[in-house]
Symmetry: C2
Subunit: 455 residues, 2 copies
């Protein structure tokens, strides 16, 4: 196979972006501010700084600064595993027999196994810079917890992870990776926090939820001297850090004169999608270019496609600021048969605003279709994808097959956020034919919408 465009486009280290791109600076309609759940007033820097490191709180509130320099220490860490490759999916195209040209940005080539490390290292750095002793966080599928453990180990910070109990039990290996990096892992709900004890008392035997683990992590952070809380998705600061994904992608594509027609990313809290699309969406907002941008979410947790655009609580314990976002209601928990991440009830306020304003589309996929796409992809492209990433694969394949019908040579870009190396339980259930699909009924959703705050 001889082609001008290599299978993998690797940038050199000096092509790593020097600054994060803050998409909010180019948005006419800014994302709605976080509200103090007590006063219903926008959160101030001071208030946010009791939860987050001060520098991160500033980034959270900054809707105007277009570029924010990547600190040298973070840049050095990025050089361990970045720039990540932009891969031309020649073998997938061949298998599909499509005239479409498919590219994916692969973020799985690091031990945490996903893009989460991009924000984890920045967050750990700012915590260290502020002189903190450590940070707390929660993890569901385990990607974020692993990433933050690695980052904290690098900066010699203590890292306390509340891991959703069912994942703690089902994913012992994720837990062990975090222990390798020196983190302490507590199954959530635990008996170590007020909210944990309360939930355990109310729901004996519960296997936990992301919303509950967030509440526990925040409670420990705000009540422990020298600690702050860090979160791996949803927040503006996280999308800011993840812009390195999109910036690298754009640089690599520009280098070879490639312009994507369609950009596809999976969406749980929005960190990967927001990062991948950032510079492309910026061009779109500035009227310099047009792209079709598609968010793909699980049919079992369909915030964009079936949620409400409203202020909601970010966590089960209602201790976090409230956010205006597409949401299913803060007590929504995807069915137990839902594998992998993308299980948060809400969505990034930035992406919610952009979706509301018509700058992007959203669609959903059921998980057996997603795993079928994952395995088809693995067999020809040689990478076992994360269940999360496979949502994007599924829709990329669908779009490529449409091109096959119409004969259009569209260029499709999608985000391959990570590997499925720690998701073999889910693959096993697919291999065994025991995996099932779940789509919440309208009644299910109505029950959780009823818990939305009336503001």
């Amino acid at each position: 196979m001889t082609n001008e465009i290599p299978y993998k486009i690797y940038l050199s280290e000096d092509e790593l972006p020097k600054a994060y791109y803050n998409l909010r600076a180019d948005m006419k309609n800014k994302p709605a501010p976080l509200l103090n759940p007590g006063t219903l007033q926008p959160m101030t820097l001071q208030e946010l700084s009791t939860v987050f490191c001060e520098e991160l709180a500033k980034q959270e509130l900054d809707n105007d600064t277009k570029f924010i320099a990547i600190p040298d220490e973070v840049y050095d860490f990025y050089k361990m595993y970045r720039p990540s490759p932009l891969v031309r999916a020649y073998y997938l195209e061949k298998m599909l027999g499509t005239p479409a040209k498919i590219y994916y940005k692969f973020e799985g080539n690091n031990t945490s196994g996903s893009h989460k490390l991009n924000s984890a290292i920045a967050q750990a750095y700012y915590a260290k810079k502020q002189g903190l002793k450590g940070v707390t966080t929660e993890t569901g599928a385990g990607q974020w917890g692993t990433a933050l453990s690695m980052a904290c180990s690098y900066f010699n910070l203590d890292c306390k992870v509340f891991m959703v109990k069912c994942s703690y039990e089902q994913k012992p290996f994720r837990r062990e990776v975090m222990r390798v990096f020196g983190a302490s892992i507590t199954p959530s709900p635990s008996m170590e926090t007020n909210i944990g004890r309360k939930i355990n008392a109310e729901f004996p035997g519960t296997t936990g939820s992301l919303g509950c683990a967030i509440s526990e992590a925040v409670e420990v952070a705000v009540s422990t001297e020298g600690y702050r809380y860090e979160l791996g998705s949803v927040l503006n600061q996280v999308l800011l850090h993840q812009s390195v994904i999109g910036l690298e992608t754009k640089t690599a594509m520009d280098k070879y004169g490639i312009k994507p027609d369609i950009i596809i990313g999976c969406a749980g809290g929005g960190s990967n999608l927001g990062g991948l699309i950032a510079p492309f969406m910026g061009e779109k907002l500035r009227g310099e270019a047009d792209y079709r941008i598609i968010a793909v979410e699980p049919a079992s947790c369909p915030s964009f496609t079936r949620g409400k655009f409203a202020y909601d609580f970010a966590d089960t314990g209602k201790v976090c600021p409230m956010a205006k976002m597409y949401t299913l209601g803060s007590n929504f928990i995807p069915s137990a048969n839902h594998a992998g991440g993308l299980r948060y009830h809400g969505m990034s306020t930035i992406l919610s605003q952009l979706y509301h304003d018509g700058y992007m589309e959203a669609t959903s996929a059921v998980q057996t279709d997603v795993f079928k796409a994952a395995i088809d992809f693995a067999r020809v492209e040689g990478i076992l994808p994360a269940p999360e990433s496979s949502h994007a694969i599924k829709v990329a394949i669908d779009e490529a097959l449409k091109c096959k019908e119409t004969g259009e040579e569209k260029t499709i870009l999608f985000g391959l956020t990570g590997t499925g190396n720690f998701d073999l339980y889910a693959y096993q259930s697919y291999n065994d034919g025991t995996m099932t699909d779940y789509i919440p009924t309208d009644e299910d959703l109505q029950r959780s919408f009823d818990t939305l705050p009336k503001i």
Copy 2:
């Protein structure tokens, strides 16, 4: 950190080697031929071709052709995950405070998680080219089985894997990855073969061994129309394919004017070490350069450091050709507390001859030291290494610390053969403090030496 040498040296796709380098062509003392265990005569091409694909049998016997072209189809596959990065271990150097310059060639950035894929894809290609229906193999730790499953899936070949029973049970996730790629996995010893039934009858409840799984895989290959057997290490053909590791490393180092003083690799059957050192050893054999080359093996399976250089059986069932190699005796099985691979009783005949002739050194390490090195490495370099690879890390660290004492700025190169993402059981036992070491006594070894054939 600004340095002329980047953190990761990536070659471009057109710098991928076009041909394998056959180290045997530069050896004055050729490796001893494989013998037919019945006649004790050297195996002929015809005899070997009943077990291996014909082209691979030819490669096995070819001591003279210096370069063997990489087939286009294999080259295309390599472009999925090669060239692999040569990494400058800046952070490890900093942690150690050593003046040494440390480099590692990282082979773990593919779903099989190790260098084994380099030979698997070549072997699958030759099987396909010969018009075979499928291949059989064995796997212990699971790296080779995963690699061959991926390779067979790519060429649409059936792949039957006999997996050592204790690994089958302890590493369900490796098994699931193989199933994703369409392979069928049988725990060994099984009831599907004569040798399996015999071993099960003799040793009820046995958890199997690599030597036994090899016998089963060979039995099925030679008795099934359209099938051949493939092996992931030890053989001359495998070292030939693995020369891509060393060739890329040499190209990358030459590009930046780097010359290693010490080259370190872990050694089980010898595939990674033989591949990594190939072009360097070639220069050494031709008298063009000198390098210190160190093989590192587990103290629990010390073929080089405590074995005999003698003809021995390659498998428990004694159905395979006999090889002259450093061996512990074909009935040697490392203690059950030995984690990871590097558990084969023998060693590549090529490396055995080179070691015997004084061209390389060997040393051994106990596993708790190895895991300590692994975790130290992971925390600064951000890669969770395979237990196998960590043997090389351990000795690289030791050598770097010697440089710290003497102030010498030596350049150390080691092979990081893969990731430990599927070895978390072993990491867990280290994290829990329950991992123990095992060093066979002289009496243990003598008992297995007594089974060496008297020829």
